[in-house]
């Protein structure tokens, strides 16, 4: 999959329009300087939109495009191409290909004319889609033809690649429209240039895994330095390098596995050792065990339970619950834990993360963050979901990474035990803000939830408890589904 940086041109500069409005212009400076700052390699593809042209109906920023073309880049240029003369102007400036919007959907003769004059490989029709319907004229109106009809017509002309934008998901909060691209994969052999919503390298990996997405056009995330082009290219080239992990979670109280809803109403779900053995046999990649005991007596039992579980499995074991000091941490490692999750204590004493990372290595330190939605943001919650902290969960996770956490176990308190699906916005907010891995927790109910947590949420591992305890879904079923969806698992 190609990573295609995108710059929009207005009044001679590189800009971005907030929400597509000409009144909300963010300026990034001279286009050539912007390209220099991106470290774009010779021979790479570059997506250029002449906003002046789309506003005025004729090519305007031709001089800039001419200059960019001299840099040995493969330019695809769009912006109000409404006639063969416009198209020729851009090609004469050095554009390799043309991105044709509304006209491609609305005027079959015009599109055919362009293909006959310039060749199918030089034309990229751009389609904006809302709820399965192509929208035209600045999204104001539905196209007269069906989406399937338009795609079939485009394909019949010999065109092989289209640019598809999902109008609903245009906005980085929800990410690229994986559902749309998957739908297009079933509908057409056309290759797709994905546009919109890419916020982190996780999105690039997920787009590359879809198979039919041949390129992803990225503007804001690159211009705002949320990722480097080198990193994006490297991840796009090897999307399947690392298998994603499925992790059953044992919440243990007084030596028994329990499970509640939103941290309340605990029910008995069996013996921890029996559960652990069954989960390894089913293909669990790791086990998380959280001690939810309320008493000191319960905690002593927990250390013994850790030992019994650790001695019964040959996969990594992460243990958390009530860890308040370096000594607590050490005791759990000695009992057989490979990694230890710190939650409440880290919030009152963040230094604990740094101390444990120095003593045992960052790979051993997992930050367990319980987060809850609260007016326009996510708040970190402490004491097993009972108390608000007033701390922003995303900022807290970023800080924990700096302190030395090796991974983040991120639980949505709102979704815990509900089987309503993971809180994808929470996952995206955190996974897009840190480099370390995020384990998604809270809300698994269907196999699709696991896919969405990884694909859209950017999680590197997915945790579930009641779903597996109650045998509503097996780890094998989840992994078979993920494999079929193009997500690598062990």
């Amino acid at each position: 999959m190609d990573v295609i940086p995108s710059i929009d041109l207005l009044e001679g500069g590189a800009v971005r329009l907030g929400r597509g409005e000409f009144t909300l212009v963010q300026k990034y400076g001279a286009p050539e300087e912007v390209l220099d700052s991106l470290d774009i390699e010779r021979g790479s593809r570059l997506h250029v939109v002449d906003l002046e042209a789309s506003r005025s109906g004729r090519p305007i920023e031709t001089e800039i495009v001419r200059k960019l073309a001299r840099r040995d880049l493969r330019l695809q240029v769009g912006g109000g191409i409404r006639s063969a003369d416009h198209a020729r102007t851009w090609l004469n400036c050095g554009a390799e290909r043309l991105v044709v919007g509304t006209a491609a959907a609305e005027s079959p003769d015009f599109l055919r004319g362009l293909v006959e004059k310039f060749g199918a490989d030089r034309i990229i029709p751009a389609v904006d889609i809302r709820d399965g319907v192509v929208r035209v004229e600045g999204w104001q109106r539905s196209a007269s033809e069906s989406m399937a009809g338009i795609l079939a017509r485009v394909q019949a002309l010999g065109i092989r690649e289209i640019l598809a934008t999902d109008i609903n998901s245009d906005g980085a909060m929800r990410g690229p429209s994986f559902a749309l691209y998957r739908r297009l994969r079933a509908l057409t052999p056309l290759r797709i240039l994905a546009s919109g919503g890419v916020a982190s390298v996780n999105d690039i990996v997920s787009l590359a895994r879809l198979g039919n997405v041949s390129g992803c056009v990225i503007g804001k995330a690159l211009l705002d330095r949320r990722m480097s082009l080198a990193e994006a290219n490297a991840r796009a080239a090897t999307p399947n390098a690392i298998p994603e992990r499925i992790i059953p979670c044992l919440d243990v109280r007084d030596g028994r596995v329990v499970k509640g809803t939103r941290f309340l109403n605990l029910r008995d779900s069996g013996d921890p050792v029996e559960c652990a053995i069954r989960y390894e046999a089913e293909g669990a990649d790791e086990l998380v065990m959280l001690d939810v005991s309320a008493t000191d007596e319960g905690r002593r039992t927990a250390l013994e339970t850790v030992r019994r579980v650790a001695e019964s499995i040959f996969i990594p074991l992460t243990v958390g619950g009530g860890v308040r000091s370096v000594e607590d941490f050490r005791a759990l490692l000695r009992s057989g834990a490979d990694r230890v999750a710190i939650n409440t204590a880290a919030m009152t004493n963040p230094q604990l993360i740094a101390d444990c990372a120095r003593e045992f290595g960052v790979q051993a330190v997992v930050l367990s963050c319980d987060a809850k939605r609260a007016n326009q943001h996510f708040e970190a919650i402490v004491r097993s979901g009972k108390e608000s902290s007033g701390i922003d969960a995303v900022q807290w996770c970023k800080y924990a990474e700096v302190l030395g956490a090796g991974e983040i176990l991120l639980t949505s308190v709102d979704r815990d035990g509900t089987s309503e699906g993971f809180d994808l916005e929470l996952l995206r907010a955190v996974s897009g803000s840190v480099k370390i891995g995020v384990i998604a927790s809270g809300g698994a109910g269907r196999r699709e939830d696991f896919r969405d947590a990884i694909e859209c949420g950017g999680a590197r591992a997915v945790l579930a408890a009641s779903l597996f305890h109650e045998r509503r879904l097996s780890i094998g079923e989840v992994k078979a589904f993920l494999t079929a969806e193009g997500i690598p698992v062990r």
């Binding site: 080198a230 490297a234 690392i242 990649d285 040959f314 057989g336 790979q363």
Partner: protein, 198 residues
């Protein structure tokens, strides 16, 4: 089959011991250099830093005991940092000499992926006794920030933002960068192959 497990002061010795017993090994755990020097089949564990691991081996005379054992024809398996110390040198925290039983150097990952690597990673290998019966591309569990790159004795490799050496073999000396004791059935098979080999 009798196996001597070096009882280094690291957290995963107990896990490795348990995994080796599971494969049917008759296990002897020791810190006694004479016992190591006389052993025929040795497993060298290690987590933590290369520097600390080498320092411990030297302080206890295990470094020269291992060389003696190898010169007598003992077989040796290094695991994780126990694998790394087999090499000539590591660039973790400056430059530190290793046991130099295997040619090559250990370096930090330089790709775009987060370091340390924590998790399962697919391993490809050339035919060798350690991976007998293991399917090509089987994932093993890794936890590491450093690895040997393109070692001359490489028999298995994996990719983490670029290829690195996942296992080496030189005569009767083996090393694996991953944790077989945490790699479920595939890991146990690798250990069993070592225990039952020759």
């Amino acid at each position: 089959m009798e196996v001597t497990l070096i009882d280094s002061p690291v957290a995963n010795v107990a896990n490795i011991a348990r995994a080796l017993r599971q494969t049917g090994a008759n296990l002897r755990m020791t810190r006694d250099p004479e016992a190591v020097a006389a052993a025929e089949k040795i497993v060298l564990p290690g987590v933590g830093s290369f520097v600390a691991a080498m320092q411990w081996l030297r302080e206890h005379g295990i470094d020269s005991a291992l060389r003696t054992a190898v010169s007598h024809g003992a077989s040796l398996l290094g695991i994780c940092v126990g694998h790394q110390v087999l090499f000539d040198v590591s660039h973790e925290m400056g430059t530190t000499a290793g046991l130099a039983l295997i040619r090559g150097e250990v370096r930090r990952f330089e790709g775009p992926l987060p370091v340390p690597q924590i998790g399962w990673n697919r391993v490809t290998f050339s035919r060798n006794p350690l991976f007998e019966g293991v399917a090509a591309g089987t994932p093993f569990y890794f936890v590491n920030s450093y690895a040997a790159l393109n070692a001359a004795s490489e028999v298995a490799r994996a990719d983490y933002g670029g290829p690195f050496t996942a296992a080496v073999r030189s005569e009767k000396i083996f090393g694996v960068q991953f944790h077989p004791e945490k790699s479920s059935d595939a890991g146990l098979l690798v250990l069993r192959n070592f225990v039952q080999w020759m």
